[in-house]
Symmetry: C2
Subunit: 243 residues, 2 copies
DNA sequence: CTTCGTTGCGAACACTGTACGCACAGCGGA
DNA sequence: TCCGCTGTGCGTACAGTGTTCGCAACGAAG
């Protein structure tokens, strides 16, 4: 055998690497947790079963003992982060706007914290039925019912659609920015000339691209944009409250 | 040479297969058009450069003479279908609601006609700047400006977010249904027991899953749901019109 | 001690997107 | 007529991907 041979399976039994007892072997929970960590760190296309296995000191195919398929793993990851979303409780029916605003902001915050979520939602929608997402829906339903809405599920669908649409767009934008390696303001500044040239000939669009505030504080501008649309939706819903 | 050998490169020059003159070789437009056809027919994960090349009587790598990368091809495909979206023109400022409703319905219609669009939007957002999407934005901006809105771009972002969120969710749902091979009503009926069991213990959710109308005419129900939320958004916007 | 169900995993399969370099077509100029 | 030159097609290859299969090792149960 040549000395440069690859490490070989080590045929001796007692030389086998014992699994550290504090690293409690492989489990569904550990797999999902580590998958979320990898997704957050490196984005959705960087997650592969092999890399995930390596990170858990395991072979790629070992994961399939605890998870049927990669799609199922993604479903579990989605429900994992769904646990983060906070929904304020409603005591007095009058404060429903503040409570819904909090619930919406909570969704947006997790969507921006885990930008891969938008990709998964675009492919699979909300058909998950995971327990944490169910619980989120339930608390939203309780909130709208307590507020006195005659059709709480309609109201939920409306505000959720707005929140999902805006958060998805924002998350995709942030992903693009992150891939460029620049700060958000720097990326906008570099994009401006191309955008303005593309807007040439579209008179009504020109105004949107001369906004200098985008460069000074893009985060605040996005926050404000989200709040504006949410207030619009809540105003429209308020008209449907009885009395 | 054995008779069962693979077709071999055919070393004779005059036996080369001449390209039919009505199939005008490979071009960017033809590639994008065929890619959209494949995406519509078989969904997003069925599109591969090799299959697309085969469909155009070309090798996989030939496509790269006209398209830099698969991502760029997807951008082009998105802009291709964006050309379908119709936006009504606005003569009288009073009919802005009908016009916006038409533009929103147009977006939703194309999103449901090409369900892969939602997946791409989830991953890349609206950062495309393709000419057809630009033109759609421009016509929307013209519409809201003519209607007299003080902040047309804010209004656009709000209604677009709602429309994208709802359409994305619907498209993902329809994709799931299509994969099951059943009709929408049949799929719902088969899903009902699982959903009701999952809703057990969530009192406020139970009501949503006893709705029998979903099984009789799910299409009309989705239409109505979309209209409800859109009306909410437009009501909220109307409050911001001067006077 | 034997048996059994569970867990880990190495090898393999069928694919994927894409880089590279060669073959050839059409063409303008010598 | 020949010579490059440029643009197009494509065969091969590489580095990955998700997933299946069969084998090896284990802890607990009988």
């Amino acid at each position: 055998m040549p000395p440069k041979a690859k490490p070989a399976p080590l045929p001796s039994v007692w030389a086998r690497e014992q699994r550290a007892p504090d690293q409690p072997a492989l489990s569904r929970e550990a797999i999902v947790r580590e998958a979320v960590a990898m997704l957050d760190a490196d984005g959705i296309e960087a997650l592969s079963m092999r890399k995930l296995g390596a990170r858990l000191n395991a072979g790629a195919t070992s994961l399939y003992r605890h998870v049927a398929t990669k799609d199922e793993l993604m479903e579990l990851a989605v429900d994992e982060v769904a646990a983060e979303i906070r929904v304020p409780e409603l005591q007095d029916g009058k404060e429903w706007r503040a409570a819904v605003t909090g619930a919406a902001a909570g969704f947006r915050a997790t969507a921006l914290r885990h930008p891969w979520l938008s990709s998964v939602l675009g492919q699979a929608g909300l058909a998950y039925l995971g327990p944490n997402l169910m619980s989120y829906s339930e608390r939203l339903a309780a909130l709208f019912t307590a507020a006195g809405f005659p059709e709480p599920s309609r109201a939920i669908d409306t505000v959720l659609s707005y929140v999902i649409g805006m958060s998805t767009t924002e998350a995709a934008w942030l992903t693009t920015v992150a891939r460029s390696g620049e700060t958000e303001a720097g990326f906008i500044a570099r994009l401006m000339p191309a955008a303005q040239q593309a807007a040439a000939g579209h008179e009504h669009l020109a105004g949107s691209y001369t906004d200098a505030a985008a460069v000074t504080d893009p985060v605040a501008l996005r926050d404000e944009k989200f709040r504006y649309g949410l207030d619009v939706v809540l105003d429209g819903l308020a008209l449907r409250l009885p009395k």
